[in-house]
Symmetry: C2
Subunit: 330 residues, 2 copies
């Protein structure tokens, strides 16, 4: 029996920040799986800042948005996937879909860890933070670290890994509530609201010994401020530049770049593809850290695919604390 699935399509390219009218909900029919196929019902889907540049270039119009999700196999004619199994997939923004199994991977059960963690600290955001900080940023124990969007999914994990490594950690975020969370829950040494005063001034005050590693999720004024505070031989691990994502062509103005010459600074853009060899080590360490409470995470969870577009709009406005997810089914 075919089932119905609601999908969120991108119907026009956002002009600046995305708005509800850039998206449309479309009802589709999902057939029974054919030979070698499975039908998956999504349970949780990710809403991620990196989706914003793809809305300008890459994401097809009038098709379902691409994005990470975890679903349950509800019908299978593929021996590799049993009915009832949980699979992570790149077919978010839809309730159900049929697949030949390519791009589906089993979700490992980790005792004591909720499903949400697999899309947060134990999933892509956590892995990005882990490899970005330790491999790309070449973090050494006890260094001076600055993390932007420190209360976001990747930033929160990066900040706490740096704390585990004995570093002095300053985080920036967009509200006083998030500043409190960073200091009181995540245990950062210092945190500031970037809307309250110029980033450069706040960073200089809160990082009096300068910055050895800057984990950049923002670009723009944050990167400029970090470059003005970087210590000799400092490293900038560039994970994202959300400050430019709503501008035409995802452009970012940075003026202090020449500081990298005499500071002998290494500025390196990366994706998780740069350190896939760390995958097992990461999963083992992070599962331990989550269980013993050394990494604390937070998710902002909207319910129902009818709220997926709103989650994207609100994410880009900074409404989330931690990972932004949409729960599609239980």
């Amino acid at each position: 029996m075919p089932v119905t699935s609601r999908e969120v399509h991108l119907v026009r390219r956002p002009d600046g920040a995305p708005v509800a009218e850039d998206f449309a909900m479309v009802m589709t029919e999902v057939p029974e799986p054919g030979a070698g196929e499975v039908r998956v019902r999504n349970l949780l889907m990710s809403v991620d800042p990196a989706m914003r540049p793809r809305m300008s270039v890459g994401q097809a119009l009038n098709e379902a948005m691409m994005g990470g999700a975890i679903g349950r196999v509800e019908a299978s004619r593929n021996p590799a996937f049993k009915e009832g199994a949980l699979v992570s997939n790149r077919f978010g923004f839809r309730e159900a879909f049929v697949s030949d199994g390519k791009g589906l991977s089993p979700v490992r059960d980790v005792a004591g860890v909720p499903l949400e963690a697999h899309m947060n600290a134990l999933g892509g955001p956590g892995f990005t933070a882990y490899g970005g900080l330790l491999r790309i940023g070449a973090l050494k124990d006890g260094e001076q670290v600055f993390v932007s969007t420190a209360a976001g999914a990747v930033g929160a994990v990066a900040s706490q890994i740096a704390k585990i490594k004995g570093c002095y950690v300053v985080g920036s975020t967009g509200s006083d509530d998030k500043v409190r969370w960073l200091k009181d829950v995540a245990g950062l040494d210092a945190a500031f609201n970037y809307k309250a005063a110029p980033v450069r001034q706040q960073l200089r005050e809160l990082a009096p010994k300068g910055v050895d590693v800057y984990f950049d999720n923002v670009g723009g004024d944050h990167l400029d401020a970090a470059l003005a505070s970087m210590n000799l031989l400092g490293r900038v691990a560039v994970c994202g530049m959300i400050s430019g994502y709503n501008e035409a062509g995802a452009r970012t103005n940075v003026r202090n770049l020449s500081n990298i010459i005499y500071g002998r600074i290494n500025l390196r853009g990366f994706t998780a593809a740069d350190f896939m060899d760390l995958r097992d080590e990461f999963q083992s360490n992070m599962a331990d850290w989550l269980r013993d409470g050394r990494v604390k995470t937070h998710e902002t969870v909207y319910r129902g695919i009818e709220n997926a577009a709103a989650a994207m709009v609100d994410l880009m406005a900074g409404a989330n604390l931690g990972k932004m997810l949409v729960r599609l089914a239980d």
Copy 2:
């Protein structure tokens, strides 16, 4: 007997491009060397783009400019330095000086190589090009390479090392004459005059396979153009950002920086301090390359300290081909 020496002082901080009035010639008396001291008469001095940011910050006013030079010991009461020996030093912009020997190093005689080469391909510019390209840029044989200010001292050597390594090399420079030199003498695959059309457009046409390594001496529009052409896992070795040196605070606008994320680009500022371990290897290789004509160099040589300030002004206006030097004595 004391001797007289003329020195070039910085008397005010340049507002934009340096002009003759920013400098003054001052006559000084240089005493006989005391115990442990030597008196050096400079023969050749360097004029370098990196001096421009120091004129805004670092170089004291109403003192002789600092800069590299090669001189001859003309009186010695220090057994480490014989009279007549050639020594490289950081006391350019003056005809003679007394030193206790600190910061003086002997110039190794290299058969078949003129003294000028020790301040060009065999000296600081050549070493900066060598380590910057091979260590910082991690150049691999046969890659696609872009070098800015390719007809300048560092750029000309970097371009030709890349050719020796079997790379496809595109250079940018500021006049049609220099374009011809790069193609006809230095043997680059392509070269363009950045004043003739937008850098981004010319680079895209002349580097149809993209850029794996960009050796940056310019920043600004050149770096932006390179970022738009960089291949996956490309490297940018940032040696200088001359485009910003005449602006307040040596600032540079770069807008395409977010390209480094998905391109997984490594952008690294450096000085020769990053690869001092390559010194012997460099000197041996470069002496060979100069002797067998695989590296061709050019110097623009002004005569007399009375023309040192003009050399600085003209360098920043791009009047030089190759290394800018001032010959102070024979």
